[in-house]
């Protein structure tokens, strides 16, 4: 059992290594030009060589992402609570939010750059915009779907709407919220990088654009890989956080009694 589990746990490592090996082999076998697709060894060499610019720009991307995401969490929860407060507001606003959410955020970046100039602000705002709606929608859904019978029990005890929110609505929103945070952080990351590629003077996106215009393809790919690593790390952090905070939701779904 233990052995099987550890094989399963290591599977992602095996797959990643296998992917790089195949990639490397393909590059050598078919003599693929570095300007088209650099081999992993070249990419890692670039990562080692340019470790300082990569690290510096990663920090910029990381903090803009986090700043945008933090704003999204605060406003997302606040608006989610407002929307989830009454079924009428929920029904009325839900389609509007879906509409807003389907506007491609990339299209907004040039506007943001015009408003706020080249720099970190557009990246923060894009990260915010892109991760904001999933949080609102999930918090609102969690609140609006409180079991009516449970609400009756509490109202017959004289509970106010606020009591019901505090004791039932908000705690039961937990799984929805953490699910949304997990997805939201990766989205925020995408938003920040997209904005950096369009117009910025720092960040991994900016670094990649510059490297691209200098034909330093290995460095472009090194940027991509460092983005992927950061994305995976952040997702993992929030997934662990989710498991910790709302363990009951994971375990109660496998409950025996009705």
């Amino acid at each position: 059992m233990m052995k099987k589990l550890s094989v399963e746990n290591l599977a992602p490592v095996y797959f990643t290594v296998a992917l790089f090996v195949i990639w490397e082999a393909a590059c050598r076998l078919f003599k693929i030009d570095t300007f088209i697709l650099p081999a992993p060894t070249e990419i890692f060499a670039a990562m080692v060589k340019y470790w300082w610019p990569l690290l510096k720009n990663s920090f910029v991307t990381l903090w803009t992402t986090m700043a945008g995401f933090a704003i999204a969490v605060v406003f997302g929860i606040a608006l989610g609570v407002v929307v989830g407060w009454s079924r009428t507001i929920y029904r009325g606003l839900y389609p509007v939010m879906i509409g807003f959410n389907s506007v491609p955020k990339v299209a907004v970046v040039p506007i943001l750059i015009m408003w706020f100039g080249i720099g970190e602000v557009p990246a923060i705002l894009t990260a915010f915009l892109i991760s904001f709606f999933p949080i609102v929608v999930n918090v609102a859904t969690g609140l609006a779907t409180t079991e009516p019978e449970l609400e009756d029990v509490l109202r017959a005890l004289g509970a106010s709407k606020l009591d019901i929110m505090r004791k039932v609505g908000i705690p039961r929103t937990g799984p929805y919220l953490f699910g949304a945070l997990k997805v939201g952080i990766t989205l925020a990351f995408v938003g920040a990088v997209v904005s950096e590629t369009i117009g910025a003077n720092a960040g991994v996106g900016h670094l990649m654009v510059q490297a691209g215009s200098n034909f330093q393809m290995p460095l472009v790919f090194a940027g991509l890989i460092s983005l992927a690593i950061q994305g995976i790390l952040m997702y993992a952090i929030f997934a662990v956080f989710e498991r910790r905070m709302v363990a009951w939701a994971f375990r109660s779904s496998q409950s025996a009694g009705g």
């Binding site: 079991e147 017959a156 004289g158 004791k167 009951w248």
Partner: protein, 260 residues
């Protein structure tokens, strides 16, 4: 004393108005154990919501102890077919939930928490859940969850207990066990009970009075006093008078279903 005087309730409904209750008149004395039986969809759950003030009647009046019910009554205990426990709280914390809401407990909650915990533990011990207080609801069987739900509806010592098919989802043995638990709790605390049920034996075993409702739109078509002496033992269910009463109730419901 609970009085429903000529109460009619019409839901707006998505496909036109639905009259759930029409001219329902019902009296329940203080401390009485009343059962309401009737065909499915006749408005029993609606009746419960009217008594607790969760909905207002379209016409007629509902009053408790002489005062008209104009909003949620505030101190009724309720339990339903589904236990509806909060999965993020332990059983003990679930049972204590009403104390965090109902005055005067609410005001004193943080100060007297230890005392309230003892109170909840005592109640859990009565229903045989003492050893499971620190478990989560999803670690327990349906019957155990229902016991906890019963404790939650009684922890604040309500004057009125409303039960809407509380034992419907349980197996026959667990159900009879919980009948006895409820019987003992009622005998000890003396609250008023309105029990909605589809199980006529349950009504006959537990109640002082059984009200039979007609098919929708519902009203009370017959009220039967249950003559068996208290304290009742499960053996009473095997007596000829008991079986006779259940049989008559069954026929009455079959009749009102036919009439619909």
């Amino acid at each position: 004393m609970i009085v429903l005087d000529n109460v009619t309730l019409t839901y707006p409904g998505r496909t036109g108005p639905v009259t759930a209750l029409a001219g329902t008149t019902l009296n329940v004395r203080k401390g009485e154990f009343a059962a309401v039986v009737g065909p499915s969809g006749c408005g029993k759950s609606t009746l419960m919501k009217l008594v607790t003030g969760l909905i207002r009647p379209t016409s007629g009046t509902v009053s408790i102890d002489g005062a008209e019910v104009k909003g949620p009554v505030k101190v009724a205990g309720m339990a339903f077919q589904h236990a509806n426990l909060l999965p993020w709280r332990t059983v003990l914390q679930n049972v204590m939930l009403p104390l965090e809401i109902v005055e005067p407990y609410r005001r004193r909650f943080s100060r007297d928490k230890a005392a309230f915990q003892d109170k909840a533990m005592a109640l859990l011990n009565v229903v045989g859940l003492g050893a499971f207080a620190d478990r989560f609801p999803w670690e327990m069987s349906g019957g155990m969850q229902q016991r906890a739900s019963l404790c939650r509806s009684l922890i604040h010592q309500p004057a009125l207990l409303m039960l809407d098919e509380p034992f419907a989802a349980l197996d026959a043995f667990t159900r009879e066990e919980l009948w006895c638990v409820l019987r003992d709790l009622w005998q000890e605390f003396g609250f008023t009970v309105i029990l909605v049920t589809h199980d006529l034996r349950e009504a006959a075993f537990l109640a002082d009075t059984i009200h039979v409702m007609s098919a929708r739109p519902g009203r009370i078509v017959e009220t039967r006093q249950v003559p068996f002496l208290r304290p009742r033992d499960l053996d009473v269910c095997y007596r000829a008078e008991f079986t006779g009463l259940v049989h008559e109730l069954r026929n009455k419901i079959a009749e009102v279903r036919q009439a619909a």
